[in-house]
């Protein structure tokens, strides 16, 4: 894995004392166990037969089976939820990234009245409790629906709209920092060569900011994929996402823990894989944008 940190900040070549090394070793070991314990439980339980997960917990499965992975699709309509989550999170991510790129470009490259008000307002929406606008947004969507016939409540569209604004503030903030670090000469040169402001954005800034944009996209996708509160209120039978759908396993009379663990693993794979593959971009994006 490429090393993104530590080039500038490697501590002095002076040898660390044994006390430091031992404390570090113990701390990191304990922390690793704490972090990985649920991952181990998830993985091992998903391969256990039902008797194993219904009785006392066993560290080592008595027998391995792949049945839970076949059963999860039948116990609840997991495939439908999966598709819903993919559509909602994918659309929210694409829209959020495009809108954030435009907004960050404006803030980074232009001076205009209200610039500070805009950035402060957008950022401060991050601190509002979600519950405060859940109730009004619920009413707004219901009312728009009854007034215009556009079904936002209960539809994927409403959820996409909601989710994309969740990741927007942080995305804009991060991209402003990223764009600021790209020399202005580059886009000035492009303008002299005959690009318009929008041309300069797409031909110069966006290619130079790919790591930042990737980081923002990962963040937006994760935000949408993992959201529970609005998903539980604003979806119905046909538009239910994984966040709500996964709870379908535990409301049944018999709790199939092996299936729940298998389903959890399956729904985690897309985001965890994406995140871990792209984490160096995220760290770099965070360094450029958030930490200054």
């Amino acid at each position: 894995m490429p090393d993104t940190s530590g080039r500038r900040a490697v501590r002095s070549p002076m040898a660390a004392p044994p006390s430091f090394l031992w404390i570090r070793r113990i701390f990191l070991t304990v922390l690793t166990v704490f972090v990985l314990l649920p991952v181990y439980v998830m993985l091992s339980s998903s391969l256990k037969p039902l008797e194993d997960v219904s009785g006392k917990f066993q560290w080592i499965p008595s027998g391995l089976t792949l049945r839970p992975y076949a059963d999860i699709w039948e116990t609840v309509p997991l495939a439908d939820y999966f598709v819903n989550s993919l559509i909602v999170s994918g659309a929210a991510t694409v829209c959020s990234v495009v809108i954030a790129v435009f907004a960050a470009y404006a803030v980074s490259r232009y001076d205009f009245r209200g610039k500070r008000v805009f950035t402060v307002t957008v950022l401060s929406t991050q601190m509002f409790p979600g519950i405060l606008f859940l109730l009004p947004l619920f009413l707004i969507y219901v009312n728009i629906g009854s007034a215009t016939g556009i079904a936002l409540f209960g539809s994927r569209g409403g959820l996409i709209l909601t989710y994309l604004t969740f990741s927007l503030p942080f995305s804009i903030w991060m991209l402003i920092g990223y764009f600021d670090s790209i020399p202005r000469d580059l886009d000035e040169a492009a303008k002299v060569d005959g690009c318009g402001p929008i041309g300069a954005l797409f031909r110069v800034i966006v290619p130079a900011a790919v790591p930042g944009i990737v980081a923002v996209a990962v963040y937006a996708f994760m935000t949408a994929w993992g959201e529970v509160l609005f998903a539980s209120v604003m979806t119905n039978e046909t538009t239910r996402t994984l966040a709500v759908g996964l709870q379908g396993y535990s409301t049944l009379n018999d709790v199939y823990w092996n299936q729940i663990m298998a389903a959890s693993l399956v729904v985690s794979v897309p985001v965890v894989a994406g995140f871990l593959l792209l984490q160096r971009y995220l760290v770099a994006g965070l360094t450029a944008g958030a930490v200054k």
Binding site: S54, P129, L132, L139, L161, T287
Partner: protein, 336 residues
């Protein structure tokens, strides 16, 4: 003026931009160029602004209006016609002698205690891990990747795993504590009663610390290497370097990090919702879930909104005071 010439050639711009120019078609190109230059940033911001207005700002203002209304299920589709209630909703929410107010106060205090514990632990673990992983050693990259797994997992998948681990009869926690270590006479309940607080705190810290770690790791990269070299020349050991260089250098990062962690933890809904379902035990009844329950169970959105507004006011005051105090501390340091 290069920009005028350039912008006339720009045909790839979005449709809204051209529409903006139409009223000024008879004006000179120079003026339309200037108009475009002034309005372009606003046009670029427009989508973001509209969405923020629709999903955040208008609902927030509506929420404030709703908190002054007698908004029950009968007025759901005609909420603007609901009768005004004056300050009644607020009176109900802060009447700590009545059941609703008493429950709200209790939930608020629980949330405060929970937030302080969770943020403190997340910050502590995150700092320690970031500092210990600052220097290169074998396995460092692997550990860094592993440590980010809790952050990357979707909340519901991770928390549902913890629910399984906290099961009384077939969970891992009781197996280790009771069966293997022999603590307690009988296996404990973790998701009901007073233990639920500790269960929630564990899950919250497990889920939350990697963000602190990620941010602090990024912050560590901005510390110039010369500082450590100079300190080493002066004979400062590793611990001294951490205390006198690393930690003070992280102060600006910490200022933002602690605030963000505080706001996220205080408003957290997802973790308790998945951990306990719709009804959290009293010991772990966080405020977001509490408001959600009291609004959607009784369909009394007026009181629910009043509670949300009070929560917002509290967060605004805390944030304001926090920023004031931490910035003043910084200024005093700079002067000294």
């Amino acid at each position: 003026m290069t920009l005028t010439a350039v912008s006339r050639r720009d045909r790839s711009g979005p449709g809204t931009k051209r529409r903006q120019d139409r009223p000024g078609a008879q004006r000179t190109t120079r003026r339309s160029g200037r108009l475009r230059r002034i309005s372009l940033p606003y046009l670029l911001l427009l989508p973001a602004l509209l969405l923020e207005l629709l999903v955040h700002l208008v609902p927030m203002l509506m929420g404030i209006v709703m908190s002054f209304k007698e908004l029950t299920q009968f007025y759901l589709s005609t909420w603007s016609k609901a009768p005004w209630a004056g300050l009644d909703n607020f009176r109900v929410a802060v009447d700590f002698d009545a059941p609703i107010g008493e429950a709200l106060l209790k939930s608020f205090l629980t949330t405060c205690l929970f937030t302080v514990c969770s943020v403190g632990l997340c910050w502590l673990i995150g700092t320690a891990a970031a500092v210990f992983l600052q220097e290169r050693f074998r396995g460092r990259g692997l550990l860094r990747t592993l440590f980010l797994v809790p952050y990357a997992l979707p909340v519901y998948a991770a928390v549902i795993t913890w629910v399984f681990m906290f099961q009384r009869d077939n969970g891992l926690v009781n197996h280790v504590l009771h069966d293997q270590l022999g603590i307690g006479d009988s296996p404990a309940f973790w998701l009901v009663g007073d233990n639920a607080f500790w269960a929630l705190l564990t899950v919250s810290v497990w889920k939350g610390w990697p963000f602190a770690f990620l941010t602090l790791m990024a912050g560590l990269q901005n510390i110039p290497r010369d500082l450590y070299e100079a300190a080493a020349l002066d004979g400062a050991g590793v611990w001294k370097q951490i205390r006198h260089i690393t930690l003070p250098s992280l102060r600006p990062v910490n200022q933002v990090l602690v605030l963000v962690l505080f706001l996220w933890t205080f408003n957290d809904f997802n973790t308790p919702f998945v951990l306990f379902g719709k009804a959290a035990p009293e010991s772990a009844d966080l405020i977001s879930l509490h408001i959600y329950q009291s609004s959607f169970q009784t369909w009394n959105f007026g009181t629910g909104s009043a509670m949300s507004v009070l929560l917002l006011l509290f967060l605004l005051v805390v944030t304001g005071v926090y920023l004031l105090v931490t910035s003043r501390g910084k200024k005093a340091k700079a002067r000294a």
